[in-house]
């Protein structure tokens, strides 16, 4: 397990839990990162507020990789602008592309995401596109230079779990860059299941932000993700199509 690294765009990580930082107090970020064992945290880019003196970067420990998202972008052009601004903020060249045309379901626009991926990969970004799990789109994203692919499990913030399970499995089986399940994972058991399927990592935000005890839930997710990873690496036991199979010897019974 010590050699089991998550590699994204040539960068190595030990943790397979990507933490969101939205919808909770900045003061909880440090303990969330610690209890999650996270090495990557997502951020959003917004118009700066002249009245606010506190900045989220003051709460993120050194050595944590920042993964800015392009939320708010409605098309590739806006995503590219946000990504460039994020890089100008001086915290590395990772970017999670997030392009949405509607605010009701917040579903990613796969076609615009491919366009933005191509532009940003050429500019040297480590591009991690959030997408609706579709094999053809995932292949196009990889061809466009994506360092990973981030399929949604269910709608953002819904905590509904692996609604797209079958399609994520296809991506895991067919795509050579890390498949990071993003959006909709609400419980540690769902994160564990995705990892058992062979997902490379899990990204979660709302599951923690809406939990009763955020740092404790971060720790629960950490354990679930590690358990799922170990199960995947060890190879899951087979499932019988029908009938039963005894675990005990079928000889030496106390009868006859």
């Amino acid at each position: 397990m010590d050699n089991d690294k998550l590699i994204i765009g040539g960068h190595e990580f030990n943790s397979r839990f990507i933490l969101g930082s939205g919808k909770y107090s900045m003061k909880l970020i440090e303990s969330a990162i610690k209890d999650a064992g996270a090495e990557i945290i997502t951020l959003a880019v917004r118009r700066a507020n002249t009245k606010e003196q506190e900045n989220i970067l003051d709460y993120i420990p050194q050595g944590i990789t920042l993964l800015p998202n392009t939320s708010g972008a409605r098309n590739a052009e806006e995503a590219v602008r946000i990504a460039r601004l994020a890089r100008e903020l001086g915290c590395g060249n990772f970017v999670k592309i997030e392009i949405m045309r509607d605010s009701k379901y917040l579903l990613p626009d796969n076609q615009e995401t491919i366009k933005a991926t191509e532009i940003l990969a050429k500019e040297g970004f480590v591009v991690m596109p959030y997408m609706y799990p579709d094999l053809n789109v995932a292949r196009d994203l990889v061809s466009a230079g994506a360092a990973s692919v981030m399929p949604l499990a269910s709608p953002i913030g819904s905590n509904k779990g692996l609604a797209t399970k079958e399609f994520i499995q296809i991506l895991v089986d067919e795509i050579d860059v890390p498949i990071i399940v993003d959006a909709g994972i609400g419980r540690p058991s769902q994160a564990c299941e995705a990892m058992e399927m062979g997902a490379a990592a899990i990204m979660a935000n709302t599951a923690l932000a809406t939990a009763g005890d955020l740092p404790m839930m971060a720790s629960a997710f950490k354990n679930a993700i590690e358990a799922g990873r170990k199960a995947y690496l060890s190879g899951l036991g087979r499932v019988l199509t029908r009938g039963a199979s005894a675990s005990d010897p079928l000889t030496g019974f106390l009868r006859d």
Binding site: S21, G22, T42, L43, V45, A48, K51, S71, L85
Partner: protein
């Protein structure tokens, strides 16, 4: 007029650096875009804001 983060301000003729000096922004924590292009920090002093410019000043916030 110069539009900064959606707000029209009467600061045409000032440089980006001069404008920022009138605000509370922490220069280390912001990025500036003018008419769709990044203004690198090293050019804040040389970049004149013109009438009709559209400027965005952004920073990181919590997000997923």
């Amino acid at each position: 007029m110069v539009k900064i983060n959606g707000e029209k301000l009467n600061i045409a003729g000032k440089t980006v650096a001069e404008y920022l000096a009138t605000t509370n922004y922490d220069p280390k924590r912001i990025a500036v875009e003018r008419n769709g292009d990044i203004v690198p920090k090293s050019q804040y002093g040389d970049t004149l804001l013109c009438d009709g410019d559209n400027v965005e000043v952004v920073s990181f916030v919590g997000g997923g």
